[in-house]
Symmetry: C2
Subunit: 204 residues, 2 copies
């Protein structure tokens, strides 16, 4: 039954993600995507019914990978469950290491879409919120584990502390892109780690 279209589909996804980071979504034309991929219009519209279907597929894939990274980092730190603070710090360290490996400023589709929200349907935008809320839940769990044996030196709202990680990711991406300094992202995650380190103190 016909040939295998998945390489084509993947090429479209990969190249258009890149293009969206360079030009924004509405600044990226389908013709540009065709040129970059060497694919024709027929093939494109076979795989994606509309340009917005591509937008949705892009965010879907990006969100899946994002949550996958998060879960991988959770797994890698499972052995530290004994000291929940150690684990939390190692969890952040995983992403510091990840960001050190990259060789150009990292970009995030959430921010990209968020700054031209009218281009997308509710469902697409909800997918972004949903993923950020998944991060929130995960971080809340990690933090609450810490709070079993630690107090906070300053009174803090746990939910917003949980969100703070995503905030620093997003902010660091923007600034590192604007200043063209790929190392900035890791630096700011280190500050987040510092904050976690400083805010908790062992219960007596």
């Amino acid at each position: 039954m016909g040939r295998d279209g998945t390489p084509t589909r993947n090429k479209i996804l990969a190249e258009s993600k890149q293009l969206v980071f360079e030009n924004g979504f509405s600044g990226t034309s389908i013709d540009q995507i065709l040129e970059r991929t060497g694919i024709t219009k027929g093939a494109f519209f076979y795989h994606f019914k509309t340009k917005n279907a591509l937008a949705k597929a892009l965010i879907e894939e990006f969100a899946r990978e994002d949550i996958h990274h998060m879960n991988e980092a959770l797994k890698k730190t499972e052995d530290l469950k004994g000291d929940a603070l150690d684990r939390l710090l190692r969890f952040i360290q995983e992403f510091i290491d990840m960001m050190c490996e990259v060789d150009e400023p990292y970009s995030c589709l959430y921010a990209s879409y968020t700054y031209e929200p009218n281009q997308f349907d509710e469902e697409t935008l909800n997918r972004i919120a949903e993923t950020i809320l998944t991060w929130r839940t995960t971080m809340e769990k990690l933090i609450n584990d810490v709070l079993k044996k630690y107090d906070t030196k300053i009174e803090v709202d746990i939910q917003s502390l949980a969100d703070h990680t995503v905030v620093i990711f997003e902010g660091a991406f923007v600034v590192s892109k604007a200043l063209k300094g790929k190392d900035l992202t890791a630096d700011h995650l280190r500050h987040l780690k510092n904050y976690f380190e400083l805010i908790f103190e062992k219960k007596k």
Copy 2:
């Protein structure tokens, strides 16, 4: 000689800034701007030679206001120069107060432009970097003042600590837009304030 064009020019700037936040820059058509302002094409292109001239004017105005806010906050805290840490914390508090007053998620043109960089010329993008670096310089000064009487509990790089404020602004804007929670921005500035509070300890 002729009528006064500044109200028209200002209306164009105000409405197109709003449109850029909703649709992105390349997602905003000149026709849309005309519709929103009730102005005609002739008037638009009288005030701005090209669409990119508008982009530049927008970022110019935004940057000027941004630096103005920064300097206002500096002025308002001058009386606290005696204790540099107090001053730093009050400086951040100024922006917390500012963000509490707003009644919808705040948006930043720096992030908007940064996520479709190919739409703009070098000069426009440089204006963004320049402004962020002005923030860096200001924060470095505030922090170095603190360091005269305080040590840091954890070894930190001053430059990246200085940048951290902008990072948290930008990240908080993105997340508060994505989650449609206008209060989030202030919350995360509070975390920044906490961080500053925790990281410094009086020299003996």
